[in-house]
Structure formats: C-alpha cells, structure tokens
C-alpha cells in the first residue's frame, strides 16, 4: 500500500460532507431552453470523449508531450460558459481541453494541436498545455499554475476602459489559490470593480497534495470575505448549479458591481497528467467520487427522468460526440506536420520579423 496524502476513509468522509453541504439535485433553470440544455449535455459528452482518448493516444505516441485531463470537470466549463455571450473572454489553466470545447472550439483543430500538427489551433507550437482559441474568446491554457489570474484581470480591465459590457471568466485550480498572484489579482479586481468571475475548479488535488493539507481553511469561497466580494461554493458535477451561479455573477459583473469568487468543487478523476501513476493516493477501489457523482451519468439520468429527452436521444447525442472525436483523431493523424520554415513564425509580429528576423 503506497503512502497516501489522505486515506480512503478521509476521502469518503469528504464525499459525505460534500453530499450534505454542497451537492444539489440537477434541475435545469427556467431561463435555459431545451436546446440549450441539450447543448450543455452535448458539449459535456464531447469533453468526456475527447479526454478519454487523450491518454490512450499519448501511450501510443500520437500525443507527444504533456497533457492534463478535464475528466470529471465537464460540468464546470460547460455550465459556466453557457452563461457567456459573444465578445466575453475566458482564461484557462494547464487543464484546458474542456475550456476550448465549452467556448465552442473545433475538436479537429484541438486534436491536431495535441498531435503537434500544422493545422492545430496553435500550429503545433503550443500543444495541450498552451491550447488557445483566441477567436472564440478562449485566451489560452498556461503551464504555470495561477498565471492566468492577472491576465483575466487585464482582459476585464479592457472591457472597463473600452466601455464594453463584456466579462471574463478566470478558470483556475485549487493549486493556483496558494500562489501569491492569486491574491494580488483578486484584490486588484475587487479594488477596481472589474467584470471578472474567478472560477476555482477545486478538484482537491495539486498534483499529489490534497487541498485539505494545503491550506488552513479548505473552503476556497471563504476567502472572498477578505476581498469584499461574493464567494460561493457549488456542486462542480452539476452543470446547472454552475450555470446558475456564474449567470448571477456575470450579471453582477456586467452591471459594474465587480468580481465574484465561485468555487466549483469536484474531484480529479485520474492522475495529474497522462504519465502520473497516482502513487500518492489510494486507487485500490473504484473512486467513490466518480462512482457516485459522475456529471455525465447525472445529466443523462436527469434528461431522461425529467423527460427533457428520450433515452434514445440521450444515447444518440453521446454517440454523435464520440463519432466527432473519432473523426478528429483520424483527421489529426493524417494532418501535416509543421514545416521547418515555420519555426520562427509568431515569435514577434509579422512587421518585426520582416524587418529584423527573429534571431
């Protein structure tokens, strides 16, 4: 039995507490149409299928470097981004696949990027960890924990200075909350009443360190008090809970009332990244969080029990997401490698490169 930073008993106790204090039943809010509800489910399925394939593709050497899975968090990105409109922005983390899909990204370009291909979102320069779909408002994944915080503050500042009503969602993890820049950024946004929503995806693990061992108070949302902004802990497996909380925070931000801190609690399903053997936590039984809280299972059950969709329709949407990802994998495998002469492209602006070269 390997050493674990928390035992299975402790994890079960946390799950019990989560069920009692945070979890709530799925119920689509009245302001979402049936089509919007089904679109939330479709995007969640797409993320699930995408990231289910990533580890296999990495093991098969189709994906070259680092990749971090969004499995288990599908409800967070999709629920949150459903509350956005065109012109809004998000910043991401190293776990960014779900964010791209939630913002309407193209899985072909995503898979090509993960395989380092020329037609990928970043032309093979970024990979999984720096995936960005800027045209959709997704300002990029980052490999430095917490580093997206001030960037989101800046994009919210643009909206304020340029007198636009756009907002920015700053996705970050529980690991990021203990970086100095996390505090500086929330403080600055609060001081300037910027239209930004700090959305903590609390998966409870910073690589091997459980959040309960990383801070004196493992409730992220409690910290909002220190900055004089609203703070809320919500069920991160429930897309409608996420949607509702983010929608309200977005409305507040658009009105000019400033930022909010939302802690969407969930559980990181697999290792920190593709090659993580998880020796630091008990994997001897099936993960109870996954068994009991799975967001895909929960939304499927909800759609059927609420008669939002038939069993067949639920299955059809899922299998069409699967087909879309399968097609993206085929596409990416065949896509061309970037040519050597693109090595310097994008280092500086085209006008700079023309004048000075890049070296």
């Amino acid at each position: 039995m390997p050493i674990s930073t928390i035992s299975m008993d402790e994890s079960l106790a946390m799950l019990k507490q989560f069920k009692k204090e945070v979890m709530n039943e799925l119920k689509a809010p009245a302001d979402l149409s049936r089509d919007q509800v089904l679109e939330i489910y479709r995007k969640m399925a797409l993320i699930r299928e995408f990231d289910t394939n990533v580890k296999t593709l990495w093991k098969q050497n189709f994906i070259y470097g680092l990749a971090h899975s969004y499995l288990g968090a599908e409800a967070v990105a999709v629920g949150a981004c459903a509350a956005l409109k065109k012109g809004d922005y998000i910043t991401s983390t190293h776990r960014g696949h779900g964010h791209v899909i939630a913002m309407g990204g193209d899985v072909n370009k995503m898979m090509s990027e993960l395989m380092g291909k020329a037609d990928g979102y970043c032309r093979g320069k970024g990979g999984s960890m720096h995936i960005a779909s800027v045209d959709d408002g997704m300002l990029g994944a980052t490999g430095i924990v917490g580093s997206g915080m001030p960037i989101a503050v800046g994009s919210a500042l643009s909206a304020q200075v340029l007198k636009k009503d756009n907002v920015t969602i700053c996705f970050h993890g529980d690991g990021g909350t203990n970086q100095g820049v996390w505090h500086e950024s929330i403080n600055l946004a609060a001081a300037w009443k910027l239209p930004v929503i700090f959305l903590c995806e609390n998966n409870q693990w910073a690589i091997s360190l459980n959040y309960a061992k990383a801070t004196g108070n493992p409730v992220v949302a409690d910290r909002a008090v220190g900055y004089g902004i609203p703070g809320l802990t919500i069920d991160g497996f429930n897309p409608f809970a996420v949607y509702g909380a983010v929608r309200d925070a977005v409305a507040r931000a658009r009105k000019g009332d400033g930022p909010s801190l939302i802690e969407a609690r969930y559980y990181r399903y697999i290792g920190h990244f593709v090659a993580d053997d998880e020796r630091y936590r008990d994997t001897s039984t099936n993960n109870p969080w996954r068994e009991e809280m799975d967001p895909i299972k929960r939304i499927q059950e909800y759609l059927i029990s609420s008669s939002t969709a038939s069993t067949e329709e639920v299955e059809r949407i899922y299998s069409s997401a699967k087909k879309e990802v399968d097609a993206a994998i085929k596409h990416a495998k065949k896509a061309p490698e970037p040519s050597a002469d693109t090595l310097w492209d994008g280092l500086y602006s085209p006008e700079f490169m023309k004048k000075y070269g890049g070296d």
Binding site: G124, K125, H130, P150, V153, G154, S185
Partner: protein, 327 residues
C-alpha cells in the same frame, strides 16, 4: 525649430502625446497617477486623461504586469511601470513565461502591444536592491525587445515606437540620466528599433557603450583625444534588436573593440556583443576585445565602495590606453 529639454521631460512628453493620439493607451503602476511618479515622469497624465487610463495600483507587480498582458491581447496598449527595475523580479513569471511567449505559443494569433518601463542604474547610495540593470536577462528571452535610451531625443522617439508597436518592450531608463539635457525638435518623430548611433567618430578604438556609459565613454574619448587617440563611441540604443552592422563597420575601421555597461560583467550583454564580433569578424580585430563593466558584487551602500563597483570614465580611459600600448 528645436528646444533643449531633459530626458525626464522627453518621456513625459512622449506619454502625453501618445495618450492624446490613441485612446487605447493606458498606464498602470505604483504612484503613476496622483503623484505623477517619483521623478515626475507621468505628471499631468492623471489630471488630463483620468483615472480610467492612468491607474494607481496597489503594490502588486505580478498582478498589474499580468493585467497589462490581459489588456494588451484584448484591445488596449498598456504601459506598466515598475518603480525601480530591481523589482521586476516580482512579475518575472508574467514577463518571461507569459508576455514573451504568448504570441508564439498560440501560433502567432495575438498581438502583444505592451511596454514595461523601469528605471535602472546605480549611484547615489541606493545600495543592493535599487541599483541594478537587467538588460542581459531580458535580451536572453526570445519574444521580448529591450530598449535603453540615454538622450532626450532617443527617449521620446523610442518610447513612441515602443507604445505603437505590436510586440512587448522592456524600456529601461537610467535613473541618473533623467536630468540629462538635449535637443528636441518641435515636430513629431519616432525612432525605429535596431539602429545604433555613432555618438563620436574615431579611427583608433570602437567603444560600444550601453545607456549611461555612453556619456562616460564620450567624456573619456574627449580626454583621450588630447593623447592623440581617437575613439569611436557607439550607442546601440536598443539591446534587442541589436544593430551589429554599425558595430562591424566601426570595428573594420578601428580594429579594436571595447564594450562597456554598468551592469555587472558576468554573463552581461558585453559578453554577447564581444562573442558576436569575434565569431563574425575575428579577422578584423588587431587586439583582444575588452569589457569594462560593473564588478560582480551586489551594490554596496558606502560611497567609496560603490564607486569601486560602478565603471567610470577613468576605467574606460585606462583600458583604451592599455589597448593602445600607452601605459
């Protein structure tokens, strides 16, 4: 028509004119607003352009420099001001890992029109944490540009180019240079990066001098002229992009090279300049090149000790005399 103004005034004018010209230009930093910066560099901006565009920040360099990046990729042209360049270590992740790389990492899809201004330089007993010059660090990082003006004309023209460009710039002003005076034309101009200036022509020794060392090299050159030695003094103005053509041209005339900077010598920009000249133009050199730079210690507070560390006119003069076999 022209006037004589200080570097401080030149920077202030550049800021005012760019704020006037382009409403997307903003500035953030400690004391840039109501106080108008401790040297008066931003004076009048707050009153004229308002709190929206001229932002006094809390002491949170990582947050406001990162916010400059977020603003730059979403429609603004932010200027971030670090009160002393020594504290640029605090937002270092944002500069090195985000600002420098975001365009490249994302496949070239984002412009990053962003300027970070910070005073560098030693002297005046400001000791170890208020005296450093980090141009070599940032020149080392692909994706950044590094600018070090030391005349009012250059400070104004280069700052305008920096603000109007679409790539990130580290704009290092020497804090002992703010009162330096110079001619300023009344008409509008900008100065392209990557163009060195020959400050003094000479046939015997090429001196490439960075920032304030330009003035110390010129003073040394005047004195050496009385010994019959004529130094050519080159001010590169921008550290990256760097104008090697002007340096090669000069070395192919003088066949002797001295590089001088105030930053301490070890792994400094002088080493890179000498290495480039040796690698590309070894056959032009009659003497081994020499670097006159700061000593490799933290800046001491005591005036006598401080003077030992900072390279001066006398050190340049002695180096030239040795090179010319006059001692």
């Amino acid at each position: 028509m022209s006037r004589v103004i200080t570097i401080k005034k030149a920077i202030n004018e550049a800021l005012h004119e760019e704020f006037e010209r382009d409403p997307s230009v903003i500035i953030m930093g400690c004391d840039v607003g109501i106080r108008g910066n401790p040297f008066g560099l931003t004076s009048g901006l707050f009153e004229k352009f308002g709190a929206d565009r001229v932002r006094d920040t809390p002491i949170s360099e990582a947050a406001f420099v990162g916010a400059c990046l977020g603003a730059a990729i979403t429609g603004l042209r932010p200027i971030g001001e670090i009160l002393f360049s020594d504290w640029i270590t605090i937002p270092m992740d944002q500069i090195v890992n985000q600002i420098a790389k975001i365009r490249y990492m994302f496949g070239g899809k984002t412009n990053v029109p962003l300027v970070i201004r910070a005073p560098v330089g030693a002297g005046g007993g400001q000791a170890a944490q208020h005296s450093q010059s980090f141009e070599a660090w940032f020149s080392h990082v692909p994706g950044l540009q590094v600018v070090m003006p030391i005349t009012p004309y250059d400070a104004k023209g280069l700052l305008k180019t920096a603000i109007r460009g679409n790539d990130p710039v580290l704009f290092f002003e020497h804090k002992r240079g703010y009162e330096i005076q110079g001619e300023m034309p009344d008409e509008e101009y900008t100065i392209p990066f990557g163009q060195a200036v020959v400050r003094r022509e000479g046939s015997d020794v090429t001196i490439v001098a960075i920032s304030i060392m330009v003035h110390r090299a010129l003073a040394a050159a005047e004195e050496l002229s009385t010994f019959g030695i004529e130094c050519e003094v080159i001010d590169p103005r921008t550290i990256y992009p760097f104008d090697y053509d002007t340096v090669f041209k000069s070395v192919s005339k003088t066949h002797r090279l001295i590089v001088t900077h105030e930053a301490n010598r070890r792994s400094g920009i002088g080493a890179e300049i000498v290495s480039q000249v040796v690698e590309r133009g070894f056959e032009e050199l009659d003497e081994k090149p020499v670097i006159v730079a700061g000593l490799n210690v933290p800046m001491p507070y005591n005036h006598t000790l401080e003077s030992m560390v900072i390279p001066n006119e006398e050190k340049i003069k002695q180096t030239v005399l040795q090179m010319m076999d006059k001692v």
